[in-house]
Symmetry: C2
Subunit: 466 residues, 2 copies
């Protein structure tokens, strides 16, 4: 659980050097995914949550230009922050693996960084059991909200699509018709049942952004949204052979249970987000998720929704947040829903972690934009587009500035860079504008700044809402 704007802490104690917080820039736990070695830059967004006196734990040294930019944007003294990077371990240089977080040399360095100060808060982007063990090693269990839950693999439960379906079913939250696939036999029957009514989405328990989804169909072909591919199946034999081939992948090698659900075409996707603390459940934000077919951006807050549709998104999300609060989860919860062409709200997953939206609405919206965010200002966030290129954070910032598009506190509009250089060719960004049309206009104005001539550049890695 990281501190959100509505609760920006009194900073006196930290400024006086009496207390500190430990913020851990981790990514998906290796307990559920091992495909995340590239995310060393992505987790640097944790800098947006920093306050004076904080200790940031990161898998790699953060990009100084980015850190300077963020702290000057949020009014935090860069020199008051301490960054601790555990010794690299072979195979997990880019991630805070359980082994790196347990490394005695790192624990000692962290203790040294804390010094005589009281640790008033310890949390991470992802609620990994390895973080709970670190809190115990430091003797600061009580500073970690929801420690007992996370220590016993709670992070898996609040980031699992199968657990989502169970708990959403229990909470009476509407979902696309579907089932939890506890075995290949159950999967075969459930998929065949659903196929009678149209295409079926099969989802990996833990992957995100559409990368764990595949659509099965008996005939129609169409462009998949939020899925890797469309597979045509003729009947039971095809479904069985699909499952035989994909079961190991769908279950992450036995780590999870996939789900199947009716695929509703021409839907849009929205999220709400909640902060769960010992005091209760607080709505912190909402927005729209854009996919083509994978995540390409977000709009915050949601625009143009009928009030009853927005109520459905927020109300259902709150019921899920309250259910997870009751079993001891503390932190950010982002339930996702689709809105169908019939304006039905159907929930599709929840994300129990600091998402790729939290820093945008919570810190850039809440602090950089301030009071007007969600009133006279909206944010369009963009994944780095294919065919655009830059060479570093500083180069991207200079280019934006040179084009006269950098966020201006006077007009409260313009481009905010949201993360460090991705090590490839991009820097994620968002646009603060009066309305969506102006935001897209600004986005178009960026194209000549970054688009590379000739054949499109190497495809960017696409991290949105990992």
């Amino acid at each position: 659980m990281l501190i959100l704007p509505s609760a920006r802490p009194a900073r006196t104690a930290a400024r006086n050097g009496h207390s500190t917080r430990v913020l851990i820039g981790n990514d998906f736990s290796e307990d559920v995914r091992t495909d995340r070695g590239w995310t060393g830059w992505w987790v640097q967004r944790i800098a947006w949550f920093a306050e004076d006196g904080d200790i940031l734990v990161l898998p790699v040294r953060p990009e100084e230009d980015f850190l300077d930019y963020v702290t000057s944007s949020t009014g935090v003294r860069r020199e008051s922050l301490t960054v601790v990077v555990p010794p690299a371990h072979a195979g997990s240089e880019g991630t805070l693996s359980p082994a790196r977080l347990a490394d005695p040399e790192f624990v000692e360095a962290l203790e040294l960084a804390v010094g005589e100060r009281e640790v008033t808060h310890l949390s991470a982007l992802w609620p990994d059991a390895a973080v709970a063990r670190l809190a115990a090693a430091l003797g600061v269990r009580d500073a970690m909200p929801g420690h007992g839950f996370v220590d016993q693999a709670g992070g898996v439960m609040v980031n699992s699509k199968s657990a989502f379906r169970t708990i959403a079913g229990g909470a009476g939250v509407p979902m696309p018709e579907g089932a939890v696939l506890v075995s290949p036999q159950v999967a075969e029957e459930a998929i065949l049942d659903l196929l009678g009514g149209g295409p079926v989405m099969v989802k990996h328990d833990f992957l995100s952004g559409g990368r764990g989804n595949e659509i099965l169909t008996t005939g129609e072909t169409f462009r998949p949204i939020g899925a890797r591919r469309v597979i045509t199946v003729a009947g039971r034999e095809d479904v069985r052979s699909y499952l035989r081939e994909r079961w190991e992948w769908l279950t992450a090698g036995g780590r999870g249970r996939p789900v199947a659900e009716r695929y509703v075409r021409d839907s849009s996707a929205f999220f709400s987000e909640f902060l769960l603390t010992d005091e209760g459940v607080e709505l912190t934000g909402d927005g729209e998720l854009l996919s083509a077919p994978y995540a390409v951006g977000q709009i915050m807050p949601s625009q143009g929704l009928e009030p009853e549709v927005l109520d459905g998104i927020v109300g259902g999300g709150r019921r899920l947040a309250e259910a997870l609060h009751a079993i001891g989860y503390r932190g950010v919860l982002g339930p996702d829903a689709i809105v169908t062409p019939d304006r039905e709200v159907l929930f599709t997953e929840y994300n129990g972690r600091v998402t790729g939206s939290t820093h945008i609405y919570g810190r850039i919206g809440g602090i950089v934009v301030g009071e007007g965010f969600g009133k006279d200002r909206i944010i369009l966030e963009r994944v780095w587009p294919e065919g655009w290129a830059t060479t570093s954070f500083a180069a991207a910032l200079a280019a934006v500035e040179g084009a006269g598009l950098r966020y201006d506190p006077a007009t409260r509009t313009g481009v905010v860079l949201t993360n460090a250089f991705d090590g490839n060719n991009g820097v994620m960004y968002c646009i603060v504008a009066e309305d969506l049309a102006s935001a897209w206009a600004c986005d178009r104005a960026l194209k000549p700044v970054f688009a590379i001539a000739g054949p499109a550049g190497s495809p960017a890695r696409v991290p949105a809402r990992p």
Copy 2:
């Protein structure tokens, strides 16, 4: 959720033929265990829950002598009950498999049995998704408490030792030190950590009665209680090779996550039980679980506990029940705890199903014994002892009667047979007595009635609290 004595329903509507309930005598879902083909007799205990006009669904025709005995004990008119047995399917003759519960011929027979009556309640011994699908097929979803939760594999979550540890950790319920083993790598580290402090229990996610537990130790040898065996390991290599060999079994072929916990020697085991309804959480019973090393019997209610220890058992159990209530589970929840030699109460699992205790305290205690149960009468329940034999339910009843030990409503003491003939050599039974010493004396008096001469008979199957 089956009806417990405190809520024995007004039976007028059923007696007038206006309504009925469907009670499904299933066993562990095939979703989590496939070792239960022998339980056709064990699930007949559902007869204890029957009320006038009910429909019982069973995997095999029930033993008529047993059904007569039970209904005359509970004051239910045998002729008002309908028993429906789905057509047998190869491989699941003894169990209500998903395929048998979905068999169109069965669904039709069940609809015929319901006739014009309203189905006011449908539930099962085990909250299987296949039961939720049956309720949907009958068009009586609303009659099944917690339908949405069970439909989305909620039964797995409320019968999983790994989910138990997550939710207990979140609810702040005390447990033996330990971890959820999400992968062999996590398992290796967690087990090595724990071995530093003594023997470690490794538990299969879903097996029961101690059959899914193995103890790892670095040296000491001892008689295991509540576990299959003790394995000596010298260090990391041995733990790794144990896990390599057993991982497939420990995870039920990828269906679950095992757990590891500190093994506390010389502990006793207790349970509390709760009924979770839309109205809330109600304590329904408690007792002691006897193992040597597997389950051999139970004492209800718990005897001789210090009030603060009993408070710990019931209070922690209630916190777990409230957590599961909040995520939508409805039905019976039986949390188990051990009491250590230091009188610490540590929770070890929960069972979200009608357990092997529910009919004993709830129906035999609550209805056959009545008001005095738990006040001037206790119950000692016994798994059929090794070396005893009988040939049928009728033979067992006659033998008990002949020995003058049959339960007598006048004295409110004696032997109650609790289930149908096990098809092998036994009939489970319990003893109603004024105190535990008298109960054990009665048990000893039964030995000459059933003990067979010469070498002990073939070992009885041991089902207690499956």
